[in-house]
């Protein structure tokens, strides 16, 4: 499928979405300037506890956000060609390996004949530190190669599996994480954080200040509490004032700024804007008939996909994990008692909440019920073992509760594999044959 054919015609309505987009560009330019001036710069996988870097004021970029930018800029075909030329397979780990592929691009920081930068946003500045967690077999290898290409120091954080898994994690995680996790698992995660801090202090010469971490953690609590209010507001409003097209970008991008005053204020402004729309009776899709849930990563290269079912069917994608994860999985109260332990209780669970049955399936069901979902479209990512998450159990849990599920394979980043027409037809068929027939 030629990328041009699938070009997204996405309609965004929120000022908050535009605001975070503009902020990210300004922030990225400032970051590039800091790196140019010789500061250390960390490139982090999404599951690395970035709060430590925020507290130490070490500039960082998150791998998955950057992959989304590269995908949205339609760089993937070029990048995977470069991987192939270097002897790597071009059909693996697209989400995680985009930046590695980009590191092979000699034009990443070059300016084209039209005076515009050839790399996305002028290209990724050279990191001095690259950090991932060992949450899948491939990630450490990709990050090590990426670090080598940039001349950066590579650091890996371990990952452990839970022995206990209370189904209602989303009800107890904010305050009672000691009940949620095995104690020794939390102990080990705290030790990991201490080791990371030691590494960063040595590498950067910056001091870690626990008081600063408490401040960062409290700002995050403030930000995520606004997401909770926003999620709850959308869930209880019919027709919904906004769709995932509005919320995914607004939340996902701001999430990578978490721990800043900007991000907390942005989350508040997002809520206030949506609340005003709801109060005014504004509907994202005035003829809303069916409320759809999107399970999976965002289709970054074709965001308009989510809106193709609105006019024809009144079917609106109103739920994605991006807002709901913010609402349910980030808040950790009484941080002051032991900020490192509170942070440990946040970062070790993220993979489990999303990718481990029964934690993911039980949460998806609870969310489907809260949001009065009529149908679930579930994208199982291609070529990613990390995102293999018990799709059978997720589907069974939802369908046993009477909620129809469409499951399909796709790649969230690689536009080469995306056929907008056939994907649209698939969802249309699902809506017509299962959602509209009221399986629920």
């Amino acid at each position: 499928m030629a990328e041009e054919k699938s070009k997204s015609k996405v309609v965004k309505k929120l000022k908050a979405t535009a605001a975070i987009g503009a902020y990210q560009k300004e922030w990225f330019a400032g970051l590039a300037e800091r790196v140019k001036n010789g500061e250390d710069f960390a490139y982090l996988n999404a599951d690395v506890p970035m709060e430590i870097f925020r507290a130490m004021d070490i500039p960082f970029v998150v791998n998955q956000w950057w992959a989304a930018i590269c995908g949205a800029k339609r760089m993937t075909a070029k990048y995977y060609g470069l991987l192939n030329q270097a002897g790597y397979r071009d059909d693996l780990c697209s989400y995680c390996a985009t930046a590695l592929a980009e590191s092979l691009d000699p034009d990443d920081h070059a300016i084209g004949s039209d005076g515009k930068p050839l790399g996305p946003w002028g290209g990724l500045p050279h990191p001095t530190i690259a950090i991932t967690r060992l949450t899948c077999d491939c990630q450490s290898k990709i990050f090590e190669l990426f670090a080598k290409n940039h001349g950066a120091s590579f650091y890996a954080m371990e990952n452990t599996q839970p022995r206990k898994a209370p189904l209602n994690w989303y009800e107890i995680v904010e305050d009672n994480w000691e009940d949620l996790y095995d104690t020794d698992r939390l102990d080990a995660a705290v030790e990991e954080l201490k080791e990371l801090i030691r590494f960063l202090e040595e590498k950067t010469g910056r001091m870690f200040d626990e008081n600063k971490l408490i401040e960062v953690m409290n700002l995050i609590n403030e930000q995520e509490a606004w997401y909770k209010k926003t999620r709850d507001l959308i869930a209880e409003t019919s027709p919904v004032p906004v769709t995932v097209v509005d919320t995914i970008n607004a939340v996902m991008q701001a999430q990578w700024q978490r721990g800043t005053r900007f991000a907390a204020d942005h989350a508040r402004s997002l809520y206030e804007e949506i609340k005003a729309l709801a109060d005014a009776g504004e509907a994202a899709v005035p003829n809303e008939k069916y409320r759809l849930m999107w399970i999976g990563r965002g289709i970054w290269h074709d965001f308009g996909f989510y809106q193709r079912f609105e006019q024809k069917y009144g079917a609106v994608f109103m739920w994605s994990m991006y807002l709901a994860m913010g609402a349910d999985s980030y808040i950790r109260n009484h941080v002051e008692e032991d900020p490192l332990r509170a942070l440990a209780a946040r970062y070790i669970g993220m993979e489990d909440f999303l990718h481990m049955p029964p934690w993911n399936s039980s949460w998806f069901l609870q969310q489907a019920r809260q949001n009065r979902i009529d149908g679930v479209v579930y994208m199982v990512p291609e070529n990613c073992m990390q995102a293999v998450e018990g799709s059978y159990f997720i589907k069974k849990t939802l369908e046993d509760a009477g909620i129809p599920v469409l499951e399909f394979k796709a790649d969230p980043v690689d536009a080469r594999k995306w056929n907008a027409q056939s994907m649209t037809a698939l969802v249309e068929e699902f809506i017509e044959n299962r959602v509209m027939k009221g399986e629920k």
């Binding site: 270097a86 002897g87 790597y88 397979r89 693996l92 780990c93 060992l134 899948c136 077999d137 491939c138 450490s140 290898k141 990709i142 090590e144 190669l145 590579f154 890996a156 371990e158 452990t160 599996q161 022995r163 020794d184 080990a188 030790e191 990991e192 080791e195 481990m356 049955p357 029964p358 199982v380 291609e382 070529n383 990613c384 073992m385 990390q386 293999v388 018990g390 799709s391 059978y392 159990f393 069974k396 849990t397 394979k409």
Partner: protein
């Protein structure tokens, strides 16, 4: 399985071949004799602990070409075919009449998923009947704190095995099991020296049978057979062929090796756990038991799944040197992806040292006809190219 006349005529080898071929016999005999049998999945389950508890380990292997109804129902397409087949055997009830438990180690990410799925199946689909499942959550990064964490993990696993056995496992019992396992490793290293010697007297195919046969025998009986075989080996005729090192997907039968060796090569070493990685590094009896177990399993040569690229490059260089390899065959099943990220760096290092490489990725198991043809053609080039 293509075996030489010397192997076919050897009584010792035939005992190994029998165990390798009839893999349930020893486990069922142990069960009939009142022993508990523990199925293992993943290469990092400490067999010393299972043996010390008076139980019989039984590596769960994949059967090619069988029905995959349960795997197709419960697993996503991204599980590699061998793991799919292993999962099928667990959940289709094949193990129920002789296995008392299944222990999964997190030796690859896919096995973590298998464990989580098995656990969830137990919870939500109670009509799917299979033995209780245990899990070992190793950390593979070799820092002090991870060694410490591993000691806790193995202590917890020991407690679980004690519950399963219905009794305490004493230090003396672990030491006695370690003596047996160390003796096995020592004998296998001595035997393997006949494969890696300048004048090779063993083929890779034969070595697979010698190693794998022991998985399905009583361990003390196995050591006796290895001792007998060791006596015979000096008289076995030499084999010739291009010396290849094999890296990649585990080979739990002799099919692939036999094809390679029939084409004119000899597989002089490998880095999978049904091959020479199995007998690396002893249990250090000077250490307390849990520490010794962590030392043995955590500090073996890096596996292709749980190591960084640089570690894998160095590991393969060391292994090919030790085996005197002239070429390396990289072979990966479809959806067994991690080592694909190592390959370009490993190739560069090997070829810089004058070692030829041949690479196959995304291979089905068993191979498709098209893959089989490409494999044969590639092998011909690798083997004959050097000679030309």
């Amino acid at each position: 399985m293509v075996l030489r006349e010397c192997a076919e005529k050897s009584a010792a080898f035939q005992k190994l071949k029998n165990a390798y071929t009839h893999r349930e016999e020893a486990a069922k005999a142990a069960k009939a004799a009142g022993k508990k049998v523990v199925g293992t999945l993943g290469c990092d389950v400490p067999e010393e602990l299972i043996l010390a508890a008076g139980m019989q380990p039984y590596p769960i292997y994949a059967v090619p070409g069988g029905p995959m109804d349960m795997a197709d129902k419960y697993l996503e397409y991204a599980f590699d075919p061998m793991v799919r087949a292993q999962f099928e055997r667990i959940v289709d009830g094949s193990l129920n009449d002789f296995c008392d438990a299944v222990v999964v180690s997190n030796s690859t990410d896919v096995l973590i998923r298998i464990y989580l799925y098995l656990k969830e199946l137990k919870r939500v689909e109670t009509d799917v009947n299979f033995p209780p499942v245990y899990f070992i959550d190793w950390l593979f990064t070799r820092r002090r704190m991870h060694q410490e964490r591993n000691r806790l993990t193995i202590s917890l696993f020991k407690e679980e095995m004690e519950k399963l056995a219905g009794r305490v496992i004493t230090d003396e019992e672990i030491d006695a099991a370690a003596v047996v396992c160390n003796r096995t490793r020592e004998l296998l290293r001595k035997i393997d020296a006949f494969r890696t010697a300048r004048e090779m007297k063993l083929t890779g195919t034969e070595m697979l049978v010698i190693i794998g046969g022991g998985f399905y025998m009583d361990r003390e009986a196995y050591n006796k057979v290895l001792e007998e075989l060791l006596e015979e080996l000096p008289a076995w005729p030499a084999v010739t062929g291009k010396r290849l090192f094999y890296t990649g997907s585990v080979q739990t039968d002799t099919g692939l090796y036999a094809r390679v060796e029939a084409a004119g090569a000899v597989i002089v070493g490998e880095d999978h756990d049904w091959g020479s990685r199995y007998f690396e590094r002893d249990y250090d009896r000077e250490m307390p038991p849990v520490r010794a177990l962590v030392d043995r399993y955590m500090l073996r040569e890096f596996s292709s799944k749980k190591a960084f690229v640089s570690q894998r490059v160095e590991a393969l260089d060391r292994e090919t040197d030790a085996a005197g390899a002239e070429g390396v065959l990289f072979y990966f099943h479809i959806y067994e992806e991690a080592a694909s990220w190592d390959y370009p760096s490993q190739k560069e290092s090997l070829e810089g040292r004058g070692i030829d490489t041949l690479h196959f990725a995304k291979m089905h198991w068993p191979q498709t006809q098209e893959e089989s043809d490409a494999f044969s053609a590639g092998l011909k080039t690798l083997i004959e190219g050097k000679e030309a």
